[in-house]
Each structure stands twice: as structure tokens, then as C-alpha cells.
């Protein structure tokens, strides 16, 4: 299959196929942690790191062990062994393990970042944007480099979305919002408008 180049995958994952604004994945932490730019940047960086690393790891796992035509098990056995049904549970396990690792690193490296992310860090485990990126990379049959690019792009795209949302929300505090729409209500509306604005990138590149 003819595949788009590394750079196109990266740019498209950030802008035209933004994992949050196009597919609406990873909404829960997007809504919960987008109150302050500082925290949003912190969580965004964590997501970028986890998303990139887990796409790479999950690619190796999928094509090395699960996919019947390429897995080392099939080769060693001389017959094709289809273990693809394990992809969901193993992808999640890898993501969960990696989040633990990130948590330990953040705790060691920056006390203030750890304080800011606090209870939200474990949310990355159940951030569907990350599992979403891993599953898309399988569906679209990317090779290793493109998968990493797609993971990195998805993470960056998610970070772009949450940081822009956080800066909008910091300004929203001074506006007069009707009571029923306060907090999450107005955030949903703003997310919708942002998603429409991102359609403007559509002609640029496509996957």
C-alpha cells in the first residue's frame, strides 16, 4: 500500500486529523484539566511522551507477537498464529505500565509539576486518545517510523488542543456566561467551535 511520508503523517495527526478535535478522543481529561495553562502544558507533555513511546512499543508488540504474518511465533512454529484478539488488553497494559513510569519520573524530576498534575496523572492511563492512536496505527497499517510519527503527532495535537482550551478558559473567567452554561457547558461549545476552526486545515494534507 502506498503510504504518506513521515512528515505528512506527523503534520496531519496534529492538524487535519487532530485526535481530540476530529475524533473527540481523550475528552475527560481535556475537560477536567484545562483550567490553567501551566497544568495543561504539563499534562500535554506527559501525553506526548506516553503516546509516542506506547505507539512504538505497541507497534513492536503487535507486529512482533500478535500479527500472524509477521510474528516471530508464527515464524518459529512454521504456521501462522493469530493472536490479534489480544491487542486491546495488551495495549492497555503497556499504556498503564508506561503511565506508572512517567509518574515516577515526574515525581523525581519536578516536584512542582507532580503537585500540579497531582491526581490527574493516573488519568492518562484511561485517556482514550492514547489507546485510540495505537489502534489507528494498526488499522492504517503504518510501518514503525510512521507509527512513531503518528503517535507523536497525536500527542502533540492533543496537547495543542488542551493548551489552547486552557488559555481560552483562563480568559473565559472574566466573561459573563449564562449560569446553565458555566464550566463544562461553555467548554463543550468552545470545543465544537475549535473543531470547526480546525476544518480550515483540511485542504493542507490528508491521511
Amino acid at each position: 500500500m502506498d503510504q504518506p511520508s513521515f512528515w505528512i503523517v506527523l503534520v496531519a495527526a496534529i492538524f487535519t486529523n487532530n485526535i481530540l478535535l476530529r475524533y473527540f478522543l481523550g475528552m475527560c481529561s481535556f475537560l477536567a484539566v484545562s483550567k490553567r495553562v501551566e497544568t495543561a502544558v504539563g499534562l500535554g507533555i506527559a501525553v506526548v511522551f506516553v503516546c509516542t513511546a506506547t505507539s512504538a512499543l505497541n507497534w513492536l508488540l503487535y507486529y512482533g507477537l500478535l500479527n500472524p504474518s509477521t510474528s516471530i511465533i508464527s515464524k518459529a512454529m512454521g504456521q501462522e498464529l493469530d493472536l490479534r484478539f489480544l491487542q486491546f488488553i495488551l495495549f492497555i497494559a503497556v499504556i498503564a505500565g508506561f503511565v506508572q513510569l512517567v509518574e515516577m519520573i515526574v515525581e523525581r524530576v519536578s516536584e512542582s509539576l507532580y503537585m500540579a498534575l497531582g491526581i490527574y496523572l493516573p488519568l492518562i492511563t484511561v485517556n482514550c486518545a492514547i489507546l485510540g492512536a495505537c489502534l489507528f496505527m494498526v488499522i492504517r497499517e503504518y510501518d514503525f517510523l510512521r507509527s512513531v510519527a503518528y503517535g507523536l503527532g497525536s500527542g502533540l495535537g492533543w496537547m495543542l488542543a488542551i493548551v489552547s482550551m486552557a488559555s481560552i478558559r483562563e480568559r473565559l473567567r472574566f466573561s459573563n456566561i449564562p449560569k446553565p452554561l458555566k464550566e463544562v457547558g461553555i467548554v463543550m461549545i468552545v470545543t465544537g467551535i475549535m473543531a470547526m476552526a480546525f476544518i480550515g486545515f483540511a485542504g493542507m494534507v490528508s491521511l
Partner: protein, 372 residues
Amino acid sequence: MIVFLWTTIVFSGTLVGLGLLLQVAARYLVDPGPFLVNVNEGAREFSVEGGTTLLTALYEEEIFIPSACGGQGTCGHCKVRLLDSDPTKVLPTEKPFFTRLELSQGTRLACQLKVKENLKLKIPDHLLDVQIYKALVSSTVDVTYDMKEIRLRLVEPQEMNYSFGHFVQIEIPDPDEGTIRRAYSISSSVKETNEIEMNVRLHPARGRIPAGRGSTYLHGLKQGDEVFLTGPYGEFELDEDPDVQLVCVGGGAGMAPMKNLVLSILDEIPGKPVWLFFGCRGTPDIFYLDMYKELSEQYPDFNVVYALSELKEDEEWDGDTGFIHLSVDKYLEDNLRKHQAFLCGPPPMINAVTEVLLDKNMRLNRIFYDKF
């Protein structure tokens, strides 16, 4: 067949691999310590492995600070003060439990605080005397349809020197979580150092709210059963001046500390005026009234008032009706400035009674309460 085999191998292999990776990472990333924890300016000092929660560390050192939820950060009982604290380190999970004053004093929840540096902390001195006790149930009596009076005889150690309004924590064996702890007020007089009495109301399951773990366990106990508990705990400080009147107001299940205060004061400070107000729903909820009536005839400085809030027409009752704060308003004189109050009961009752007492010029810092 071969698919099952490989599924098992791949699945468990990946999980074991991840687990090993995390173990290795933890070894290099988490500062193993040990860190020194200094309690009450050197009264106790011990070292702790890095990453342990302070609550676990304190319990390992047999310093039993109160904790009702078992370290889940939901009860807010395990407050400690850090002497050289950094207020920015307070976690979002702890903040709701603190007042501004507590935050500025460096208060933290021991169960949420992971030890990552040397700590100096301050806890109330008497908590250092808290011990774990083995006790045997010496009697258990139904005093109403849902209230039991349970007496425990201390076996090891044999004596607990508890004070006015103190409570103990009962250790409840739990198949899932090991041990959970629930706090119960002591209802016996401070004179009894070998026995502890409690009044326990059964909380059966109601709709989606599961049955109370502590009350279910305690109501199931039989005479001679073995119970472990820690104590004594308490923040109430009785003004022992015999001229200062103590106003005790209890409602619902809040009888135990009242009984402890009344009996202890009659035993230890005879002549100190005590008022006991107790509010309950109907006549089936009344208990101990006859005993108090006898006492009030015997001791002129002790007065007792029970009020029923949901009296039914066919029930016989010659006392007060209505909510208990109305009775407090009716019987007490208007100048309570130098007197003291102990309230125990549901939050609406406490709020209403506090308002009445403030109207009668009692000072806010002389009103002690236990809301539940």
C-alpha cells in the same frame, strides 16, 4: 490448542516484563531514604523508607493517630502539623479538609503524605500515649430496638486512663482490606479504667447505602469475644472549674460521650453543674432516662431533659416535644458567658443548638462538637 498456550505465554510474558521494568525503575527513581521523622520535638524519632505514607510509618512505630477510613483520604482524621512545611505541597486531595488556619500552620493528612524528606511534625501529646489494647466483650445489652450497650474488659494492657469525652478506635477485621478502624465514643465513667463501655447504633443497609461496617461487626459480637482497639483519643478539654456549668446536648446516636461526661463529672467533680439534653424521635428511642432521673434526684446540680421530635398520638410521654434546641432555649439561663458545651449529633442539630447557645452569650470557642 496451540493458540491457548501461546495466548497464555504472550499475555503473562508481557505483564511480567512490564512489572519487572517498573520494579527496576522504582529502584532507580524513588529515593529509598531512609528519612528521619521527628515527632513533637524529639519525643519520638524514627527512620522511614522513602515513598511510604506517613500514616503507615506512624502505625508501624505504634503511634496511633486517629484514622477512620483506613488511609483513603476520605475521613480527614489523620491531621498532623509539619513544623517546616511548604504549603504548595498540599495535594488537591487534602485541601477540602483544612481550614485556612490549618493550612497556614502546615497541617497535612498523614495518609496522603509520602515521606520523601526528613520531617518534623507535631501531634497532640496524648496521642503518644495511645496504645493497642486486647479486650474481651464482658456484656452486650439491647437498650433500644437498634442500640446496644457493649462493655469491653481490657485484657492486655489492663488499664486505659481515658479522660472526659474521649473515644477509642475499634479494629474491624475485613477480608478485603485487612483491618479497618471505626471510632466510637466511650460511654463509661473515667473512674473505670479496666472497662470500656460504648453505645452502638446499628446502621442497616438502606437503599444503596451499605450497612455500617463498624456497627454490624459490633452488634454481632457475643460475650467473651476478643476485640482489638486503640485509644484513648480526644480533643475535648473539660474546664474542671466546679463553678463552670457544662451543657451536654446529644441527639440520635450521640449518647455515648454524654453519658461519659455526666458520670465522670458526678464521680470526679461533684458539685459541678451539668445539664444533659437529649433529643430523639419517639418513645422507642429512649434509653437511660430512668437512670438519669434517679441521678438528678440524687445530685441537685445535675439536670436532665429528653425531648421527642416525632411523637405519635398513641405514645405516652410527659416530657418535652419538638427539636432539642427548643428545650435548650427554654431551660437555660440567658447568660452562659463563662460556661462550656459539648454537642454530639447530626449536623442540623449541632447548627441549631450552636445558634441558641451563641444567642445566650456562650463563646464559640467554649462550644465543642462532634458532627456525624
